[in-house]
């Protein structure tokens, strides 16, 4: 994969956050598309079919040029990693493949310092962003409509994905907040996530 393609990996919990995780990847790709970028958003095929609470990955790719290797199964070198359930950082090397200077976004009510304790390779990060998405818009939406290659019947970013995407803008310059606002359903949660996110530069 050419290095000009920016890779963003989302970690989420199986079934209960399947839609949320996909919304984050789709929201990011759709907003970037509005900025004239070439994009891709897709599920990690190997993680599916998912089971309740198993870790699973969703991917977005953003590029100034056409993405030539669209069929690469995985994001091998993510620049940005988003963790939709903070407990995932305890058992999984969520930063795997990241090169120095990446950004981690975590959905948590804890402080960045508390999360960093669980990230052994935290020296790869230039910033960590924490946002309490659950506090902003409640429990994750459970929705099965888009599982395994299907189409989402309900809107994008109606739940936790919105504040997480808002927080993402605080730590990266991948997309503009107004373009996210144009693609997510819960705009209020998007803005709240953006405002309430805690950013720690490393």
């Amino acid at each position: 994969m050419a290095s000009k393609v920016k890779q963003i990996t989302v970690w989420a919990r199986g079934v209960v956050q399947d839609k949320e995780g996909r919304d984050i990847a789709n929201g990011l790709a759709n907003a970037a598309k509005k900025e004239g970028k070439f994009t891709q958003a897709f599920d990690n095929y190997v993680d599916l079919p998912d089971r309740v609470n198993v870790p699973l990955r969703k991917y977005a790719r953003i590029s100034d040029e056409e993405i030539e290797e669209r069929y690469e199964y995985e994001n091998e070198k993510p620049e940005v990693v988003i963790v939709a359930d903070a407990t995932l950082v305890k058992g999984i090397n969520v930063l795997r493949g990241m090169e120095k200077g990446g950004v981690l976004v975590v959905n948590t009510d804890r402080k960045p310092e508390d999360i960093l304790k669980f990230i052994p390779n935290r020296d790869l990060l230039k910033a960590i962003v924490c946002v309490d998405a659950k506090g902003i818009c409640g429990e994750a939406t459970v929705d099965f409509s888009g599982s395994e290659g299907g189409v989402d019947a309900v809107g994008l970013g109606a739940g936790m994905a919105a504040p997480i995407l808002g927080a993402l803008v605080r730590g990266t310059n991948l997309v503009k907040l107004e373009n996210l606002a144009a693609v997510v359903k819960n705009k209020e949660a998007l803005y709240k996530g953006h405002e309430q996110a805690v950013v720690k530069t490393l």
């Binding site: 897709f42 669209r70 069929y71 395994e148 290659g149």
Partner: protein, 397 residues
């Protein structure tokens, strides 16, 4: 006005079936084709599609259900992947031999062992000689289009053949791509309502699929073979109409990319064609005279078109994506047919095959560069040293 959407191949195929006004659907789950049925089930439940949706108890049942429904005069759809496709194998010959134009969407998947859910063409390829029309889509748009084209050709009374409408599992079935959804009026103009010359009808009793005497067998085989000889003319008509009505630019059988002054070419079908195009673009910028020929219909095999397209090259590399263990070329299936197509030409290109994209592996740009290197070497040496190259598993080119 056509509506632009971003859809996976499964979702695109479901949209196509809906616009084709499919009447009977029979499902059984297996990755990666399952989302086709998931989408259709939603459409039926939401009242967007007026179709009977039947849950089969296995793939053999799926095919048996749609055989009956199609024979009774309903436009039908079923589908499967991998070992699901092979589980239903018994039904393929009766359906084709009975000249019942069932459509089956296959999102291909490697066969066991071990359990592998990645794309490989071997599942569908194993069924290629039963008399079904057959071809692969490169992307979700082509998956959508091929659904409509195959209904039109297969249901034509000059053809009356079932259709395997194939797409690469995951690469096409799961990775969303741009799809132009036409207006219903365009689809209606292209695809006439389904009729069968002798449908099952209690008011006009006929027999379908009875026991026959041996002396009645050959003539039926001959008729099935003749249908494949008659199909190309119908395919040409259908593609011409499709291009006119939907504003596309399909060739009926083989499509060429950057072949004008090419010395060598890849011969390929399905998803990996996309990556091959990018590889060719880069190779061209380095002065390598290479192009590609993409196959759109595997059955009926377009012998003459393949010969004409490939005769202008010095070397052709066939990208296999399926296995034919112990076969004449020691690799996949396509090279057998490519070589057979070229046999009567006075001047034949050198040909070899590349085993790539097996077990769900993608074919990255660097693999196409490797293949191009081998083709260059063949041209330089003026001969084919090996008929098969397992890409990534060779010590040297």
């Amino acid at each position: 006005m056509a509506k632009e959407m971003v859809l996976s191949g499964c979702a695109a195929s479901a949209q196509a079936a809906k616009m084709a006004k499919v009447e009977v659907i029979c499902s059984y789950p297996i990755r990666p084709y399952t989302a086709l049925m998931m989408e259709l089930a939603k459409m039926v439940a939401n009242g967007e599609l007026d179709a009977e949706f039947i849950y089969g108890e296995g793939e053999h049942a799926q095919l048996s259900v749609v055989l009956g429904a199609s024979a009774a005069g309903a436009r039908v759809l079923t589908g499967s992947s991998g070992v699901g496709v092979t589980y239903a194998f018994e039904t393929y010959s009766p359906i084709a031999g009975g000249r019942v134009p069932v459509q089956m969407m296959i999102a291909d998947r490697a066969l066991d062992p071990p359990g592998d859910f990645g794309s490989e063409h071997t599942d569908a390829m194993s069924c290629r000689d039963q008399g079904w029309l057959m071809g692969w889509a490169e992307n979700p748009q082509e998956a959508f289009d091929n659904c409509l084209i195959n209904y039109r050709v297969g249901e034509d009374h000059r053809v009356l053949l079932p259709q395997f409408v194939c797409q690469d599992g995951y690469f096409v079935s799961h990775i969303p791509g741009k799809v132009l959804l036409p207006d219903q009026s365009q689809v209606d103009e292209f695809l006439p309502p389904y009729t069968l010359p002798h449908p099952l009808d209690p008011k006009h009793p006929v027999s379908h699929g009875p026991q026959i005497r041996p002396d009645q067998g050959t003539i039926m085989d001959l008729q099935r073979a003749q249908a494949h000889l008659d199909a190309p003319a119908v395919i040409k008509e259908a593609i011409a109409d499709f291009n006119r009505i939907f504003g596309r630019d399909y060739s009926p059988f083989v499509e060429e990319y950057m072949t004008d002054d090419a010395e060598m070419a890849f011969f390929i079908m399905g998803a990996h064609t996309m990556t091959a195009r990018h590889a060719i673009k880069h190779l061209r910028s380095k002065g390598v005279k290479i192009g590609l020929v993409k196959l759109r219909f595997l059955r009926p095999w377009p012998t003459q078109e393949v010969a004409e397209a490939l005769s202008k090259f010095k070397a052709v590399g066939v990208v296999e994506t399926s296995t034919s263990y112990g076969g004449a070329m020691r690799g996949g299936n396509l090279l057998h047919e490519v070589r057979a197509s070229l046999y009567d030409l006075p001047q034949r290109p050198l040909t070899t095959s590349f085993m790539a994209g097996l077990g769900g592996e993608m074919v990255p740009l660097k693999d196409f560069y490797y293949m191009a290197e081998i083709l260059s070497k063949m041209i330089k040496e003026g001969k084919t040293k090996k008929t098969v190259h397992w890409v990534g598993f060779e010590a040297e080119a």
